[in-house]
């Protein structure tokens, strides 16, 4: 596929550098007065920024809500402290440390590396558990598994006195627990790295596939995307960044205790993440700055004495601010201030050359002899028989219609074919290979792509990216097909004008056409379309006939289409199957079907 280094690498890198410089410049400006308090505030903010960027990499890209990342932070923080504190100090604090840890003497850099390694190993195990539990956007199981990590780490830190010195005192680098981090260079370096990593990850294959699954897990699977590997990559990267940030935090504070990495810090970092916009790296940093400023302001205000305002200006105001910010944003602006906006998007718009729509270059027709067969499919939902020995057959270059009254089982048959519903009996074959029993993404990779009755677009992604991520999958798993470039598909669907708009902003007809183009991008042998004209005007649905035909020709695929619109069906289909009460009652050309008495009976209810 065509790559666009300006969009995927150069602009994001420039954007990351700009973000880093902006953040650093602002921080230095703020602490230029040389006061120790503003200095330490800025340092804390930059360290928090690293941790929150770590959260962004996982939560932002996958949409899986993790409460456990601060638990990873605790593991990293303790490992760092135990390795980095000098043996003589350790003898005083944790003389009975197991595994001879009391004698270990490592430099901060080495300790950081040990912390990183250990935490990533733990993250890998948690990642396997998350994947087993079916983690997807907003999944409850993920919340529980990650909360479990946070709690278990916390309890271990409190109870394994020999190792951690328990909850009362914690471990410290110096008698006073003074800051031990000399110079800010490590913070700057790690922050710059974290920004670039978070931003560039969004443009990688793993990042883009994870985002598609975040937007609609089911649609992603049906398009051939299995996000498990991508989610694991996101988790490991994210935990690496959180570990680095946590080690910095411990080093900067000069001490660690269990409370340092528990609920309060989870609340603080999560609020920072969602306020600016969790999907955006720029947004994440904006959130960090706003919440830091707001917390500092409320902390100062809470100590003030203004007559008439004492009901408000008191201890705890900062927590009200944090809880209120979290709640307020979720209710009023759940995507955060910036949503999906990135600084480099703006940069890219200015830097790129003018684009012109690609000419529709027809792909040399491959003499494809694909055959799709579904035979004797029977499905029960409880006592209700949705399909009874139903089936259909379609060959390449053919448009096959599937019609029938509401509840006849049309969508269920499509669901069985694409692996979303398990049939009680019957089999589905594509070019002789059995699809029955394969996962939805396996079936998509074998060569079936579908659209949905009610849209399931990747709504926060652009039109081009909706097609692009599926294309990305197809370039790997559908190598035997000649795939048209992404932009050709965009143009072919009549969406060139809208190519950089978000899918959620499209009008009804455009969204339908995007679904069609996205399915075509999967390079299927057969396109399965579930009511592609529902909700369209007569004029639009007539246009859709040409659109579907030319799209199928472009990718050399056969078509199976469900629809209610008889004009559309007779206009587009070569053959039509009629389904009634789960059974195929007729098959033939549209002309034959329209005079079939059984079909008329099913539709009009006349006894026959």
């Amino acid at each position: 596929m065509q790559t666009d280094p300006l969009r995927r690498a150069i602009a994001p890198t420039l954007g990351s550098v700009s973000l880093f410089l902006l953040l650093l410049g602002g921080s230095l400006l703020y602490s230029a007065n040389g006061e120790a308090s503003s200095n330490s505030l800025v340092t804390q903010m930059l360290i928090n920024a690293v941790v929150v960027l770590g959260l962004q990499i996982y939560i932002g890209n996958t949409g899986v809500l993790s409460f456990g990342h601060i638990g990873f932070g605790a593991i990293a923080g303790y490992t760092f402290a135990i390795c980095a504190i000098s043996p003589e100090r350790k003898l005083r604090q944790i003389p009975n440390a197991p595994f001879g840890l009391a004698e270990i003497d490592l430099t901060p850099l080495q300790s950081g590396m040990v912390a990183l390694t250990l935490t990533i190993i733990v993250a890998f195990v948690i990642g396997l558990a998350l994947s087993r539990s079916g983690a997807r956007s907003g999944a409850v199981a993920a919340v529980v598994i990650t909360l479990a990590l946070l709690f278990v780490v916390h309890e271990v830190a409190r109870n394994w006195i020999d190792l951690t010195r328990g909850g009362k005192t914690g471990l410290s680098f110096s008698p006073l627990g003074n800051a031990t981090l000399q110079g800010k260079l490590p913070i700057y370096l790690i922050l710059a790295g974290a920004i670039a990593l978070a931003r560039l990850f969004k443009e990688t294959r793993a990042g883009r596939l994870a985002q598609a699954a975040r937007e609609d897990d089911l649609a992603a699977r049906v398009m051939g995307i299995d996000p498990a590997v991508q989610q694991m990559i996101a988790l490991l990267l994210s935990v690496a960044v959180v570990s680095a940030g946590s080690a910095l935090r411990v080093f900067e504070l000069g001490s660690i205790n269990p409370r340092l990495f528990f609920f309060d810090y989870t609340l603080l970092t999560l609020t920072m993440l969602i306020v600016g916009g969790r999907n955006s790296v720029a947004g994440t940093l904006v959130g960090v700055v706003i919440i830091t400023a707001g917390s500092e302001l409320t902390r100062n205000l809470s100590g003030m004495d203004v007559s008439g305002m004492n009901w408000l200006l008191r201890d705890g105001l900062t927590d009200i601010f944090l809880g209120g910010a979290m709640l307020g944003f979720m209710i009023l602006r759940p995507a955060g201030l910036l949503g999906n906006w990135e600084l480099d998007h703006w940069l890219y718009q200015r830097l790129r050359r003018a684009e012109s729509p690609p000419a529709p270059t027809p792909i040399p027709a491959t003499a494809s002899r694909s055959v799709l067969q579904a035979a004797k499919v029977t499905v029960h939902f409880g006592g209700y028989q949705a399909l009874d020995n139903a089936g259909l057959e379609a060959t390449a270059g053919e448009v096959v219609g599937l019609i029938g009254p509401n509840g006849a089982g049309k969508t269920t048959l499509l669901n069985v074919i694409t692996g979303l519903v398990k049939s009680d009996s019957g089999r589905v074959e594509l070019n002789g290979a059995v699809l029955t029993g394969l996962s939805p993404y396996g079936i998509a990779r074998s060569g079936l792509a579908r659209t949905f009755q009610n849209f399931r677009l990747f709504s926060a992604l652009s039109v081009r990216e909706n097609i692009g991520v599926v294309h990305l999958m197809a370039t790997r798993f559908r190598q035997n097909r000649t795939l048209p470039p992404v932009d050709t598909l965009v143009a072919q669907a009549g969406l060139w004008e809208h190519r950089d708009r978000r899918a959620s902003e499209l009008d009804y007809g455009s969204a339908r056409r995007l679904e069609l183009a996205r399915a075509a991008a999967a390079g299927p042998d057969f396109l399965l379309l579930d009511e592609p004209t529902s909700g369209m005007s007569d004029h639009e649905s007539i246009n859709m006939i040409d659109r579907v035909r030319s799209m199928a020709e472009l990718i050399g695929a056969g078509v199976v289409v469900i629809d209610h619109d008889l004009n559309f069906i007779t206009g587009i289909c070569d053959r039509v199957y009629v389904l009634d009460q789960g059974r195929i009652i007729a098959v033939g050309t549209p002309a034959e079907i329209s005079v079939n008495p059984a079909v008329q009976a099913a539709y009009l209810g006349t006894a026959g």
Partner: protein, 295 residues
Amino acid sequence: MIELIQQIIDGLGRGGIYALLALGIAVIFGVMHLINFAHGELITVSAYTSYWLFASGFNWWFIAPTVIVVAVLTAVIIEFVAFRWVRGAPDFTMLMTSFGVHFLVQALFVMYVSANFRQFPRPGWIFDTWRIGDLSLEVFDLAVIAATLVTLLGTYWLLQRTMFGVSLRAAAEDFDTARLMGIRSNRVIRGAFVLSGVLAGVAAIFWLMRSGQAGPTAGLNPMLKGVLAALIGGLGSLSGAVLGGITLGLVEVLLISRLPGGTAGLTDGIVFLLIALLFVFRPQGLITVRRVERV
């Protein structure tokens, strides 16, 4: 043997409270697919109510019914202020909203009362035991079991025999269709919050009799137990929630009595770990609710 019977009764006592909490969470999940992490705040508010009423010289006989009323009011207010605005929002938004409420209520108590815990007297009879042969039974456990049974029977009657109950079960079964069939989502959702308030109120009475303290984080532990129990039961399932609560209570009691000395502090951690493992091997919980995503 005797020891085991005692432990089972002890576990049922604990589990009964968990079951009530879990049922309240499952009811809300059923009508709006929201996992209410703010459910514990009903206990927090109840705890402070009890504390203040004690300070004003009232006794448990007055406090108990008041606690239920207060829990219901709190549930309705939280729904009105926060949850009604995120109906139908993506799961991520709803999860974060309920955490937001949880943190905000906690912060309000820190700000306007105190971050410290306050004690109030526990009723004297909760330490009484009855001896039947070798068996010594805590009166408190028996009281909890009895109250749980009565509340669950009442809830069962409500769900099976009233129009509201039928609507609520229908909504829990299939929210979109229920709405199409003319069930008024507003009324059902508000009713679900009232019901969850009643259940939390009954649970709060016994939780507070045992703990005897009020603090901003008083609701955290009951919330976690309730959510975990509901998850064990498979969330959408109401009977699953009750079963999940009882299971959790029994597992805890058995763990505490069998863990070697010095590691008892890890009970909650181990329970958490077990539930995480449950999710790894049975993502749908103990009881499977068939939930077909419509495409």
